[in-house]
């Protein structure tokens, strides 16, 4: 018996850790961008992990990057399933998320909840939202957060397998973080360049994304 056959046998399946299988264990949400899906382990956004997105300024495609996943989380009949009926909460968005444009991209705007806490309440709000179990995703604009606070959030997100996106200023890029995925965004002409600083289960790198593949 070949060693691979042995490992695939019924007694041992799932009991022996194999290097390349680690990446498929995580629950993911497809990003909707083929290039990015190929790069990320598991083929999409890791659920139940912190994802940090560094943006120097707004309007560089940071929302476009999330649109396919957001649409997947919020679309669908409200009666379809419990997961589809959860909220996606936006915490302290810098501008008004424009409902007609969101709808046009397939997002169910009725599933969005906007919360504007004061600066010192942001982390509290974020943790409440993640822990409540009533949100399938969180988009938070978070300026200051230390490692301990992020670790708390990470644990909360793991518990509820919540899609947790933290928009951070570029200055936070050098700070230590428990996030599973840390990416920066740059606009290069018409393409959006995703610079992956840290990715659990893959090497840092750069991915250029074009139009969403649906």
């Amino acid at each position: 018996m070949d060693s691979n056959e042995l490992l695939d046998s019924d007694e041992l399946r799932g009991r022996v850790w194999r290097g390349h299988s680690a990446r498929t264990r995580e629950v993911t949400l497809p990003t909707g961008f083929a290039a990015l899906d190929r790069y990320l382990p598991g083929g999409g956004w890791p659920l139940g992990q912190l994802i940090e997105v560094f943006v120097e300024r707004y309007g560089v495609g940071e929302l476009t990057l999330l649109m396919p996943a957001l649409a997947a989380l919020t679309a669908g009949e409200p009666t379809r399933s419990a997961v589809a009926r959860k909220w996606v909460v936006w915490i302290a968005p810098p501008f008004v998320p424009y409902a007609p444009a969101l709808q046009q991209r397939g997002v169910g705007v009725d599933a969005l909840l906007l919360v504007h806490p004061s600066n010192q309440d942001r982390l509290w709000t974020l943790e409440q939202v993640i822990r409540s179990g009533s949100s399938s995703g969180v988009l938070a604009w978070l300026a200051a957060a230390d490692h301990v606070a992020l670790r708390r959030l990470q644990l909360a997100a793991e518990e509820q397998s919540c899609w947790t996106i933290l928009f951070r200023p570029s200055s936070a890029r050098r700070e230590r973080s428990p996030a599973a995925l840390r990416i920066g965004l740059e606009q290069e002409g018409v393409t959006t360049r995703v610079r992956i600083d840290k990715c659990r289960g893959a090497w840092p790198g750069v991915v250029d994304i074009g139009e969403a593949t649906g």
Binding site: R57, F95, V109, L113, S134
Partner: protein, 512 residues
Amino acid sequence: MPRPLQFRDLVVREAVSVPGPGWATVLAKPQSWIAVCLPNLAFDVFGMAAGDEPAAVVEPLRGQVFVVAANRHARRCGIVPGVKLNAAFALTASLQVLERSPRRERLCLESLSAWAQSLTSTVCIEPPETVLLEVAGSVRLFGSLAALKHKLGEEVARRRWVSRLCAAPTAMAALWLARGGAEDVESLGSLAGRLGSLPLRVTRWPLEIQTLLLDLGVRTIADCLRLPRDGFARRVGLEYLHDLDRALARRFDPRVGLLPAQLWSARRELYQESSDAAVFMAAVEDMLDGLTAELRRRQAQVRSLRVEFEHVRRPPTRESFDWAEPTHERDRLLRLLRDRIERIDLPAPAMALSVTTGFLQALQARAVDLFDKTPVATLSHVLLERLRGRLGADAIYGIAAVAEHRPELAWSRSAARPRDEIAGAGGPLSPWARHRPLWLLPGPLPLSSSEAHRYYRGAVECREGPERIESGWWDERGAGRDYYTAVSGGGEKLWVYRDRRSRDWFLHGLFG
């Protein structure tokens, strides 16, 4: 041959609408009333029953002051209700005189009624001193009429009031029998006989009516019943005949049960002025105990609540709390209150706290999952109220698309609702939405302003457009604009427009 009908017959028949004796009862189903008569209430409200000095409660009537109630010592001296105050002082000089307080009496009756609502839903106050309960439906639950009476008697005794309890098939009969200190009457058949022996004063008819009847030699209810009905109606008054009929179940006696209070409130004074959240929480917890007990008794729940902090020489500070769904659970109430009160910033130390609820709502029971998997709807309720409690209701909202050409009016804030109340992905999908940005600025910014410069670098170059939006000439927010999709030197995709009137450029959105 029948006697021709005379005018007088007609008038009397009209006036006395109830025919002669011997009719069947008007009650559709048997009723059972308990009257709790508090004959000494006017005195009992002062809580001085155990005093050692003779004391009496007095009330002015037609320019003279009469004793209406007295304690044991005063009665021993011969001071009974009805004695004039001067005469009372003649009997004992050391008499302590209290002025009657109808307000206190009313409050006592109301508090007893509120308690009695745990026995039956129909509780009526019969001023000045009686509470009536319709208990036909409660007898089975409590075992027997005697058990119910025992419970009531215990409660009244706990309040140290003198009481007489009596049960009868009609409210009026129970009331009269209790005032007369008579025994219970179980059946309608024996009602007339048992009521008959009661003196006239139990009716509490006006004094002149009672005097008139006494002058006629009518001393008891039985004497009244013996009089011809038409004559009684004409000479004494129709309403008194109706009273007699009601007592004997010959006439309907609809009574509106006392409605329980719609709000609940409590107040606690602090031992000393304080700004300490722990002190506040202790007082609030204490009050919540009372509230939850009340809610449990009433099978009710609350949706909102207000806490008032009273200061010295300053208007009180008010804090309002709203729950996403009505609740009666102490923990849930307390959690939200604690979140806010622990962070409260008062302008001055508080000397007292009061809690007032919003309208109490009937409890709606909900089925619970066998495996205790909390539904998303409940979780979202809880999240909403926690966020509202700490951040304020304005900080949380949903968004919706609106069918409107002007971009700033094509979306709206909607109240955040828990996830089960959502009607479905709705809203019109405008055909132009393709060219709309994901971020809309709160208001258009002049493109050359320093504020707008924060959002782009370098020169702005129009890529697509123009799209003309000319709308709203009928209101004050009319717009005439040419919109362009533009790219700045730094790579930001902008949504800009040129105002058609002023020819100025504005930044209105970012494509994000």
